[in-house]
């Protein structure tokens, strides 16, 4: 049985990754998950300098999902390289570093510092809804997305994945812009901007007022956008949004995703990634699928 997938010429032992921001750099999950079994660890976003993130409360529960407004808190690229990448080096899994910034220059600074590091791919976060400058502004506009994609591609030593925002009228346009500007892959969806109000206290549930909605609640939107993107571009699409089970992962693959990522459900069950990997193998056995590639995009 072949669960291997390939993105930008790089083989992954299986298509199951972690969604950025839901798994740290793997350190907090290694007691639950054998990281060697993952297709890839996608790290939490890292910026050129340490970012403090937003005030608390930063998370809120919603029906079948959750809102978060962490605000991309991270220790900065220098400590990240020294500590997080050193940690990940111990494992036999692909490492994808999620990169964030408030300006093209800030993104490029991180990309350059990663150029001689043991990193397999870069994921450029142009879709975080929870920081005031940068991030999502690059992901909601075709011109801005094209510009940052080109700039990153010029500097990057590793293949580049552009992580797209679902908070757009037409995801196809954004995916095509990323492809045309040289992106090696796109990943989607980031969270959908949402809000929750505590009606007894008459205040927002999140200090940031709005946050990003994730979890099984948004899966149908994610599957639709992955399908649209996969039919609009030829580069690989990494699908995510509410994946809780192997069935969910396969739904994304049948919609056209080359790989998938488990996000918010890591919080519900720290073993989710492994269960998804094992469930995909079980599904392949039951359905007599020898190569995962044979079902990719099979529904259209």
């Amino acid at each position: 049985m072949n669960t291997q997938v390939c993105i930008a010429g790089i083989p992954f032992k299986n298509p199951v990754m972690t969604a950025s921001g839901t798994f740290g750099s793997g350190m907090e999950y290694e007691e639950f998950v054998d990281l060697n079994r993952l297709g890839a660890v996608v790290t939490k976003g890292v910026s050129n300098v340490p970012w403090p993130g937003n005030p608390t409360p930063r998370v809120a529960e919603t029906y079948g999902g959750m809102l978060n407004a962490i605000g991309l808190q991270n220790p900065g690229i220098d400590l990240f390289i020294k500590r997080d990448l050193a940690f990940l080096k111990k494992y036999d899994t692909r490492v994808i570093v999620n990169v964030c910034g408030k300006s093209v220059e800030e993104y490029l600074e991180v990309v350059e510092k990663l150029s001689d590091q043991d990193v397999d791919l870069l994921e450029i976060n142009v879709s975080c809804p929870n920081v005031k400058e940068g991030a999502i502004a690059f992901g909601q506009d075709v011109k801005a997305l094209s510009a940052i994609t080109k700039a990153v591609k010029e500097k990057a030593k590793q293949p580049v994945i552009m992580k797209l925002s679902p908070n757009v009228t037409d995801i196809k346009e954004l995916a095509k812009a990323a492809e045309a500007s040289g992106a090696d892959a796109v990943s989607l969806i980031n969270t959908i901007t949402g809000m929750k109000i505590d009606i007894r206290k008459r205040c927002f549930a999140l200090a940031n007022k709005t946050g990003g909605l994730s979890g099984p609640a948004i899966k149908p939107v994610a599957v639709r956008m992955v399908y649209e993107a996969a039919h609009a571009v030829k580069i690989p699409v990494i699908g995510m949004g509410g994946i809780a089970t192997a069935e969910d992962a396969i739904e994304f693959i049948m919609a056209g995703a080359t790989a998938v990522a488990v996000g918010a459900m890591n919080f519900h069950d720290p073993y989710t990634t492994i269960k998804v990997i094992e469930g995909i193998e079980a599904f392949m056995r039951e359905e007599k699928i020898t190569d995962l590639e044979s079902i990719r995009g099979c529904v259209n």
């Binding site: 999950y29 403090p52 993130g53 608390t56 930063r58 808190q73 519900h268």
Partner: protein
């Protein structure tokens, strides 16, 4: 102290005050936990995906006790569990209290009182517990034999009328180290008091959490020093805490 998510079994549960429930759970987590640590409890209601962090009240071999308040429909679900029912838990989580205190002053407010029980049982030497309630008491008899217990109630129906600080001052209570858990206004007052008296204080914080294991960065607290993990003066309550040296966290 490896963390584990497991389906444990409810041994028994009772309502010990209005909306306050005491539940004993049969779980191997009991044997690797430490006073001040907590467990994440996951509702079975599949519309609710995030766990509820609940502090460990006390343990016995192979079993632990939680005492919690119904704060919403998630905890209301837990309150309906009967003997033998399965319960989804993850733990033990967090750092817990340091146990090297002598002549300790333990301060608990409301649903911050339960973790003081396991602490009182674990600490050596003389222990004084100050428990603050709105009005209705709970767990008071459990402290017998483990600590001297002083009570404050907001309505004055038992003990000192007012806050735990009122009780401390009225009864000239003191100690060489303070441990506290309770609502933020109480923790602020305790911190202030500890600084004023020059007594070291360990306080247990709470915040909305998602992962419970330190990955999501949902439940941070500002710290006075730059902590090693965040690099930005933001400690994780679920992982670096919930217990902090009062001087090292910014409660404003």
């Amino acid at each position: 102290m490896a963390k584990e998510k497991q389906t444990a079994a409810v041994i028994r549960q009772e309502c010990i005050a209005t909306d306050i429930y005491s539940m004993w759970i049969e779980t191997s987590i009991a044997d690797v936990s430490h006073p001040g640590q907590f467990i994440s409890v996951y509702p079975k209601d599949r519309s609710k995906l995030l766990p509820r962090p609940i502090s460990i009240c006390e343990t016995a071999p192979g079993r632990l006790r939680i005492v919690y308040r119904i704060a919403g429909s998630g905890t209301a679900e837990f309150a309906g569990y009967k003997s033998g029912d399965p319960i989804e838990i993850l733990g033990p989580l967090g750092n817990g209290f340091p146990l090297d205190g002598q002549d300790a002053l333990l301060i608990g407010g409301g649903i911050g009182i339960p973790p003081m029980l396991s602490l009182a049982k674990a600490l050596p030497g003389k222990k004084t517990v100050v428990a603050g309630y709105k009005s209705e008491l709970f767990l008071t008899e459990d402290f017998a034999g483990h600590a001297d217990l002083w009570i404050a109630t907001e309505d004055g129906s038992s003990g000192t009328k007012g806050t735990v600080l009122n009780a401390i001052r009225e009864n000239h209570l003191t100690g060489s180290v303070i441990y506290a858990c309770g609502p933020m206004p109480m923790l602020k007052a305790v911190k202030e008091y500890a600084i004023e008296q020059g007594i070291p204080a360990w306080i247990s914080l709470e915040e909305r959490m998602a992962c419970g294991v330190g990955a999501c960065l949902g439940c941070v607290v500002k710290t006075t020093g730059k902590d090693e993990h965040s690099n930005v003066n933001n400690a994780r309550i679920c992982k670096d805490g919930p217990v902090f040296d009062a001087k090292e966290v910014d409660l404003t």
